[in-house]
Symmetry: C3
């Protein structure tokens, strides 16, 4: 079990964290099995995505349109309600197969952290099981 | 492997089930690994969320706006189509890390059952793997 | 670890792949545990759903409305941005419990591949862990 700490740089961004995950997997020594990733936050999310040029901003623009601007009840900041809803829709965890110690991803598939309320330090628990 | 049964109380609600999951995990005896949760339904969903006051209703209001009212083909009840779409968007499963027998969650992160077609009894299969 | 290859037949469709997954699980020989499924693509997604008559088309119609038609930056084809966003929202992986060698699913719950950019061959990595 390892905690990956990712420093995000903007209020909202899609960060490619595939390389950081690959490095952490190599340290774990599991060659064949599943790499479980779990994000310890409620205004960010974890998934996989294509990252063709501009796709990161396309995803963020679409989510901004998809989640409506309602009169949210959130006590501190109504924008936080939108962040929580985006995070809940995308989800906090993914489980990626490992073979010969390598993440099995499609040719255009990257592991991404979606930041909705940054810049912040974000923690991801990584556990590889055989 | 254990089946958690959760009784929901309304047609739509966001239920914090973290405590029920913690109790079931303690019975399993796995100290370090992953707690897999899988919901056996198609008009409810499983995820994690912040539960600041009002966030539960904010999430439900947003989903009601996000999923449009179309002329759905659903044979019994067109509202069920909306429930199925919400459930499909959020998803039926999450995998949460365990350390020293405790769920590793962020400080504001709760395990939540989203009920879209209640009140009902909802079954969740829990399996902890090392 | 096994690679399931699914041939989709349309540009967009919801395919019930439960039977193909059941067959692959039977070959793996794991009786009790978790069946992890991971899709190696960025214009398709994996989840569970009800498949009452018409629900497949209801889901696709809803997603087409939910993801807005913006001036996406995607370099090859702006429609691909919509596919990527749908795939990112639904997600690439699910983890289904196994008991006595059988997938534990709800009575109306099916494992589905959502195709957004077909017809294509789609690869899913399947790994059963005890």
């Amino acid at each position: 079990m390892k905690e990956l700490v990712i420093r995000t740089g903007k209020e909202k961004e899609v960060l490619d964290i595939t390389h950081e995950v690959e490095q952490a997997v190599a340290e774990q020594g599991v060659k064949e099995g599943i790499c479980h990733l779990f994000l310890l936050h409620t205004t960010a999310a974890l998934t996989t995505s294509d990252l063709d040029t501009g796709t990161d901003l396309d995803i963020l623009d679409a989510l901004e349109h998809i989640v409506p601007n309602l009169n949210y009840r959130h006590p501190h900041n109504p924008r936080h309600a939108k962040y929580h809803i985006m995070a809940t829709m995308i989800g906090p965890s993914i489980s990626v197969p490992l073979e010969e110690g390598k993440l099995q991803l499609g040719p255009w598939q990257r592991i991404v952290l979606l930041e909705f309320g940054g810049p912040r330090e974000r923690s991801i628990i990584l556990h590889c099981s055989p």
